[in-house]
């Protein structure tokens, strides 16, 4: 083995001499470039991961470690009490169950509706198509806050063309049920729905026309072609959309607060964790006593970790689904 290497080395020097020193220069340059790239990438990776590591180390610290200036990353008094407490404060398991179910339901509905719409935009020509697609772009552009006040009142005094008022004499209050949000997802107006429509349309546009025509010639109807031919092809992009939708739904607190007021969800529990910690403190140490801000932040860090841990697991398992299929779809404008 070493002999082969030494022969190779000799050959290298010979070739180097023949090329007038160019080969050596080039090899050194490539090696330097590789080292520089490795350092840069390592640094940037560390930059992204560091807050996460920091939170992990804080979440295992006991309260007095937080005030100790000599402790930076490795806790001296290792403890899991933070996890126990934030589990109690967030009602973690209840929230987890609800979040899993709600995110699953919402993202399935969302992806299903967006697939239909994206397919329609990509494969059919119809009058006003560009106008409706401009509307899709508009739905991406509108900040949810612009319409949220109106939506809020819309669902508070819900009515379809005055039918309910005519029958019962009163409008329906849908404010504290899941119905409004489900309806919005069915109507492709959920969280970032416009983006999914855009992605799916891109994908369906790239499927060759011959495939569709062959199906029609064989006597396949329009709906059957969609279900039997197109959908199986679209599996990667569908998983990708589903994963994005699931993850973003999981961490979303805005729509959750607006529409799912009475469902216990993780992001909402997370935002209220410091308030609950205050209540917990005053119930133990008497009214008026408040937790220190350092301890509060440690609790938030713990809660945050617990919230994103399932997502990180999903990400580890389905990393390819997130990335590869999206890059296959070839996004263009």
């Amino acid at each position: 083995m070493s002999r082969v290497k030494s022969v190779e080395r000799q050959k290298f020097w010979e070739r180097n001499q023949k090329s007038g020193g160019y080969l050596l220069k080039k090899t050194i340059n490539t090696a330097l470039y590789k080292i520089a790239r490795a350092i840069l990438l390592f640094g940037l990776c560390f930059l992204i991961l560091q807050p996460l590591f920091n939170k992990i180390s804080i979440s295992f610290m006991s309260e007095k470690d937080l005030y100790d200036a000599t402790i930076i990353s490795i806790p001296r008094n290792f403890t899991t009490a933070n996890y126990k407490l934030s589990n109690q404060l967030m009602e973690f398991w209840v929230c987890l169950k609800n979040t899993v179910l709600v995110a699953l339901l919402v993202s399935i509905i969302q992806v299903a509706a967006c697939t239909l719409v994206g397919y329609g935009f990509a494969r059919y020509k119809f009058p006003l198509r560009n106008f409706w697609f401009a509307c899709v772009m508009l739905s991406i552009l509108v900040p949810p806050q612009t319409i949220s006040s109106s939506l809020f009142l819309h669902f508070r005094f819900f009515d379809v063309l005055g039918i309910f008022k005519a029958i019962t004499g009163e409008t329906i209050n849908l404010q504290n049920s899941m119905a409004p949000y489900i309806m919005m997802c069915l109507g492709c107006m959920g969280l970032k729905s416009g983006l999914y429509i855009f992605m799916l349309r891109q994908f369906f546009r790239n499927i060759p026309k011959e495939l569709e025509e062959a199906a029609y010639v064989d006597g396949c109807g329009k709906l059957r072609t969609f279900l039997r031919i197109m959908l199986p092809d679209a599996k990667p992009i569908l998983t990708s959309c589903f994963l994005f939708s699931y993850v973003w739904q999981w961490t979303d607190s805005y729509y959750a607060k607006l529409f799912l007021g009475n469902v216990k969800l993780l992001p909402k529990a997370l935002t209220s964790i410091s308030g609950r910690l205050g209540d917990y403190y005053s119930s133990i140490h008497g009214t008026g006593s408040l937790p220190s801000s350092a301890y509060e932040q440690a609790m938030i860090a713990t809660g945050l970790l617990m919230t994103i841990l399932p997502l990180l697991l999903i990400y580890l398992v389905a990393q390819k689904g997130f990335v590869e299929s999206l890059s296959q779809s070839g996004i263009k404008m």
């Binding site: 059919y124 552009l141 900040p143 612009t146 319409i147 006040s149 819309h154 919005m184």
Partner: protein
């Protein structure tokens, strides 16, 4: 009777009906949950809204709310200009960063999969509720201060800045660069999707193009500007639009927070709608102007 009708329909008509059936969910959703609320909130922004028990009343007040937002309210103007200026430097930084990273990640090296996974992690880490919590984490800031004090030195950028800043001319430019360097974490965390989009574009460029260029004597630098850049230029447009929207609409944006506060705490629907509409018009104007300018320069390879 029915049969006759079916026979009369041309294929194009059938297709357009099928197309409308497919996008029907969107049309219904758009009209009910976007167009209608949008117009209602526009109307609200001209009104004084009072919420009663069984209904809500609107009293027409013309431009009162807008006047209040731009001249009376102490915060709105400042927050709006602040968020627009920070967008003006954040978006180019995000673009350059994500393009650069995509170029790096497109190369072959050991552990590429792992590095990619880490760079796409911000797609999860920068979403929804997590961002808002990240920013007001006083404990981490406090720890940073302690570390800096005990190490008895300032950060590298601060030292560099003090060295370079003596010139006077161009110090504003340095300030700009240092702002970006100091905020590189924010940039990195905001560019997950953009990296994916650029990477997808880079992977569609066929290697035969580079080979041909190399044979013709093109250096790597030249082939970058003559091949890579034009080929992904359409994606630059996509990414600019995405970054602008992502930056302006994300939940931790100060203007958004203010609008939310006004709406949910003070229950002042008219005023919050006025602010939201002014903001929305700003967003549309910016996206429109930027995409108009850039789409002129985009090169489509077909």
């Amino acid at each position: 009777m029915e049969k006759k009708k079916k026979k009369k329909m041309t294929l194009a008509q059938k297709n357009s009906i099928a197309g409308y059936l497919f996008i029907l969910p969107f049309i219904v959703g758009f009209l009910a949950f976007l167009a209608y609320p949008l117009f209602q909130s526009m109307y609200m922004s001209f009104c004084k809204v009072t919420v009663g028990i069984g209904s809500f009343d609107m009293e027409f007040r013309a431009f009162d709310n807008y006047v209040r937002a731009f001249t009376v309210d102490a915060e709105f103007n400042r927050l709006l200009t602040e968020s627009l200026t920070s967008m003006a430097y954040r978006v180019p930084a995000t673009l350059v960063f994500s393009f650069f990273i995509a170029l790096l990640l497109n190369q072959e090296f050991k552990g590429r999969g792992a590095v990619r996974a880490i760079f796409f992690l911000p797609v999860i880490l920068s979403s929804g509720v997590i961002v808002g919590l990240e920013y007001n984490n006083t404990l981490l800031q406090g720890m940073e201060e302690v570390v800096q004090k005990s190490a008895n030195s300032s950060s590298i950028t601060a030292t560099l800045q003090s060295i370079l800043d003596t010139g006077g001319t161009g110090s504003k430019f340095f300030q700009y660069v240092f702002d970006i360097v100091d905020g590189v974490y924010d940039v990195a965390i905001a560019s997950g999707i953009q990296i994916i989009i650029f990477l997808s574009g880079l992977q569609t460029i066929s290697t035969s193009m580079y080979e041909a260029a190399k044979i013709e004597g093109c250096t790597a630098w030249e082939s970058f500007w003559k091949i890579t850049f034009p080929m992904v230029s359409s994606l630059i447009l996509v990414n600019i639009v995405y970054s602008i929207i992502d930056f302006l609409i994300r939940t931790d944006n100060k203007v958004m927070e203010k609008i939310n506060d006004t709406m949910s705490r003070q229950m002042d629907y008219g005023f919050s709608s006025a602010m939201a509409w002014s903001y929305f018009l700003c967003v549309i104007a910016i996206v429109g102007v930027v995409s108009f300018i850039i789409s002129k320069k985009v090169y489509y390879y077909e």
